[in-house]
């Protein structure tokens, strides 16, 4: 993985640039010393690191605007950073670029229950929004597993998901508006407390753009009433096929569970040893189906899910009868990562999405690859929406294990795309999967995406080196191959 070559002249100007930034945000908000820059060298994808040129921590939208206007004038690169929890290296710094940290934009500006929305600055954590409205019985639906730490601005950049996406959508379906600073410092507002916008859906393309179109400073999110009831069913299956069939049958019966998670045998054993959730150990696959909503509906549907599970050949079915049981069912799934931490020095988690019907096929292929590479793989799976989480176990201290792990991961992702799936369902491309974009998209597809980038940031100053395997100059992408009237309309029947 190669990042753009750092510009030595820019690095040599570090002190002068720091002085200019201090004039905007004050002394305390510019981090220049190497020791203090060190904590920013990586994000949730720790395999990659780079020391940023400088870190600047603005406190207001105005400061963000002035910083960006300055960088734009000086042709300086900017890497926006929320809480730094990206699993794809979205906030990986550049040695000749400024890391623009948004952690000080940490206030919830407005909670408006009548319009069922909240307005938060981009550095507010995902969970803080829910906490701010929980006493009135509301919550913010997308719940990435990092929700205690990850920022809402980062969620917008990555279009973050969670375990409830099938029913409640991703970030993009739950954000009503943003305030965003463009590369030249212009502050724009997209959407708001109303639905949709006039003109092109710039809010829609901003969500999931991995910090490459603008820097989001404020987010208006949709609030939902917390479901009255949630109950879970824990179902064990003798094979991945029968578990997969059960997922398909539940959805085919018109039931959209709030969450539907699957674990394969290695995952079940790893977490049961760790949390003792009472998971059956004699099954090949375990399914947690959670139904949430009005009590009458949940009680009705849970019986249907139980019937379907039995028809699909389940070997064990347990239904939660109280909140404590429901929480216990989830405890194992939620502890999957720490549980794996006990049995392996390092692990690497992927997140391709596949058509659910391909699950047994993909798992079989993964088992073959596991033998080929001599590395163990464990699967937890957002079964409802087809989002896999294969976790490859390795030891970075052993020669070539990281490299083998990465090749194993690439093979998994390629196979998922071949099966009609996609590279990433919720973690983003970042630097991690950047060079695999060609597996899904051809040059014309990628060029068209980059032309969108060019409309926002023609000089390519915002988060360069992410998402696109090859960077083309905007002038080159904009060029039209015209033939000055020599191209004729094809000889088709005209009406």
């Amino acid at each position: 993985m190669r990042m753009p070559t750092p510009d030595a002249a820019t690095i040599a100007r570090r002190g002068a640039i720091a002085a200019q930034l201090r004039a905007i945000v004050g002394d305390a908000a510019v981090i220049e010393s190497e020791n203090e820059r060190r904590p920013y060298e990586t994000d949730g994808l720790t395999a990659y690191h780079a020391l940023p040129l400088l870190v600047v921590l603005p406190s207001t939208t105005q400061e963000v605007s002035r910083i960006m206007a300055y960088c734009h004038r000086e042709n300086l690169k900017i890497v926006p950073r929320g809480a730094g929890t990206s699993l794809s290296g979205g906030a990986l710094p550049l040695e000749d670029g400024i890391t623009l940290g948004l952690s000080k934009l940490n206030r919830i500006l407005d909670v408006d229950f009548d319009n069922r929305c909240a307005v938060a600055q981009s550095g507010v954590t995902n969970l803080a929004i829910t906490n701010a409205v929980a006493d009135k019985g509301f919550y913010y639906a997308p719940d990435p597993s990092s929700q205690i730490a990850c920022s809402i601005g980062g969620n917008v950049a990555e279009n973050s998901g969670g375990v409830h996406c099938l029913k409640y959508g991703l970030t993009t379906n739950n954000v009503l508006g943003v305030e965003m600073v463009l590369i030249d410092g212009t502050v724009i507002r997209l959407g708001g407390k109303h639905l949709e916008s006039g003109g092109y859906d710039l809010l829609g393309v901003t969500v999931g753009s991995e910090g490459m179109l603008g820097v989001v400073t404020e987010v208006t999110v949709r609030l939902l009433r917390k479901p009255t009831t949630a109950r879970a069913v824990l179902v064990g299956f003798p094979s991945n096929e029968s578990a997969g069939q059960c997922v398909a049958s539940i959805i085919g019966a018109g039931i959209i569970p709030g969450g539907m998670e699957m674990m394969d045998k290695p995952a079940i054993h790893a977490v049961e040893d760790f949390v003792h959730a009472g998971y059956p150990l004699d099954v090949e696959a375990l399914l947690i189906v959670e139904l949430d909503g009005p009590t009458a509906e949940v009680d009705h549907l849970i019986e249907r899910v139980e019937q379907i599970a039995k028809q699909c050949g389940s070997v064990s079915v347990r239904i939660s009868n109280n909140e404590a049981e429901r929480v216990l069912f989830w405890a194992g799934r939620k502890a999957a990562f720490p549980a794996l931490g006990r049995i392996t020095p390092d692990y690497y988690c992927l997140d391709p999405t596949i058509p659910r019907a391909k699950l047994p096929d993909v798992l079989r292929h993964m088992a073959e690859l596991s033998k080929k590479y001599g590395l163990r793989v464990v699967n937890v799976f957002h079964a409802g929406d087809g989002n896999l989480h294969p976790i490859i176990l390795y030891d970075a201290n052993k020669p070539d294990e990281l490299e083998r792990t990465e090749r194993f991961g690439v093979d998994i992702m390629k196979y998922c795309v071949d099966m009609g799936g996609v590279l990433t369902g919720e973690h983003g491309i970042g630097v991690e999967k950047r060079d695999l974009m060609g597996v899904m998209f051809n040059a014309a597809d990628l060029n068209q995406q980059q032309r969108l980038k060019c409309a926002f940031d023609p000089q390519g100053l915002l988060n360069p080196g992410k998402v696109f395997p090859e960077l083309h100059r905007c002038a080159e992408l904009g060029r039209l191959h015209v033939h000055h009237g020599k191209v004729r309309f094809p000889d088709l029947p005209r009406f």
């Binding site: 009433r225 019907a357 990433t424 999967k433 060019c454």
Partner: protein, 394 residues
């Protein structure tokens, strides 16, 4: 004036390339049901994309359907219904409203206009169900975006950009959408005689309750007096319990009637189709998107400037207006009542002259207008696709 009807992507790319080279714009047409929507076009050529039709892939258990962009919506809805599924964003049929008659709407048409009916408040708009597409850009190049799965963050979300772009960026040939199960049953809790403020208060109460409303509308001009309606959908025991609980909780707003499946479906379909305002063919019809709780204030302010008929959908967040007379169809007064960044107004029905003389879509702030123009440059630099349909310069 030529009309081209390509049957494959290669022919389509050739037509767009020729249009590009001669700088002669194309009007994109499939079913033609929404030709009266948006700014009038005066393109020398018509690009009939109806050849890109037919369901390509439908896997009910994956909740995904792929079809040619010009596949009739009727065909799609029929196919989905056979498996007890639907397009959950509930696109309306505006043929009667627009007086466009003729053929039905197509999947590409509703995606291009990002339509959504009453269920918008619960399930989102077309944009939220649009997973992937194949298209030819205004540069004459075939490209694709998105995927065929319901959860995908691979690359920029160009689907969002294309939804609601009114065919000004690319000509879609194939579309993949997310589909959802049809609700087993529907009930509507109907309150009578409320004024706007009380109606919106009742809708807020309902929407903020735990009963998972999938519709909240207010019809001040209903036969028999103002009607405020709240919809619940789901399994039978669930809708029975929720509608009864809602009625009890809303007692302070007067006694409520509960409508069953057939009456509910008729009512909500009519609301999505704009039926309450479809009758008076001479009037201009607008859809105004506001923060839901501000609808009464907006209506009161507008009432001091203009005579109009109206109804509310989306819990107050969507104001349908019918304005009779006036040179500009009420454009200036309506937009003057919308605070900066607090909403937008779209002219849905108006004569070609009116749609030429007033902005059909909400005028954009300068920074957004120049961004939109630069995006258009990237997709359709010579403005050969539906030139001027959204904004004169786009």
């Amino acid at each position: 004036m030529s009309r081209f009807r390509p049957t494959d992507e290669k022919q389509l790319a050739e037509i767009v390339s020729a249009a590009l080279d001669s700088e002669e714009p194309l009007e994109i047409v499939a079913g033609g049901s929404k030709r009266g929507l948006g700014r009038p076009l005066q393109a020398p050529h018509t690009l009939d994309v109806s050849g890109f039709s037919g369901i390509r892939q439908y896997e009910p258990e994956e909740l995904v359907l792929s079809a040619g962009a010009a596949t009739p919506l009727d065909e799609i809805e029929k196919t989905l219904k056979a498996k007890r599924q639907m397009l959950a964003f509930e696109p309306g049929d505006w043929r009667a409203l627009l007086g466009s008659g003729g053929q039905g709407q197509t999947l590409g048409g509703i995606i291009s206009c990002n339509l959504a009916g009453p269920r918008r408040i619960r399930q989102g708009a077309a944009r939220d169900h649009f997973l992937g597409f194949q298209a030819v850009s205004g540069r004459g190049e075939a490209f694709k975006a998105g995927g065929r799965v319901v959860k995908n963050v691979t690359g920029y979300d160009l689907c969002k950009l294309i939804a609601g772009s009114y065919g000004t960026l690319a000509v879609m040939t194939e579309i993949t959408v997310k589909v959802l199960p049809l609700p087993e049953a529907t009930r509507t809790v109907a309150l009578k005689g409320l004024d706007d403020a009380r109606a919106v208060a009742a809708m807020i109460h309902g929407l903020n309750s735990s009963h998972e409303l999938s519709g909240a509308a207010h019809l001040p001009g209903a036969a028999g007096g103002a009607l405020t309606v709240l919809r619940v959908e789901g399994p039978v025991p669930s809708v029975e319990a929720r509608s009864a609980a809602l009625r009890a909780e809303l007692k302070t707003f007067g006694g409520a009637e509960i409508l069953g499946d057939a009456d509910s479906v008729k009512l909500w379909t009519g609301l999505g189709d704009g039926t309450p305002l479809a009758g008076d063919k001479e009037s201009a019809v607008w859809r105004v998107s506001v923060a839901p709780a501000t609808a009464p204030a907006f209506l009161a302010q507008l009432g001091r400037a203009l005579d109009f008929k109206y109804f509310l959908d989306w819990g107050g967040g969507l104001v349908w207006l019918s304005v009779k007379g006036g040179e500009d169809g009420g454009a200036q007064d309506i937009r003057a009542c919308l605070a900066q960044d607090q909403g937008h107004a779209t002219l849905i029905r108006g004569s070609a002259a009116l749609r030429n003389s007033v902005p059909v879509f909400q005028p954009l702030a300068p920074a957004l207008a120049s961004l939109a123009a630069r995006i258009k440059d990237g997709f359709d630099p010579k403005r050969v696709l539906n030139r001027g349909r959204l904004y004169p310069e786009i």
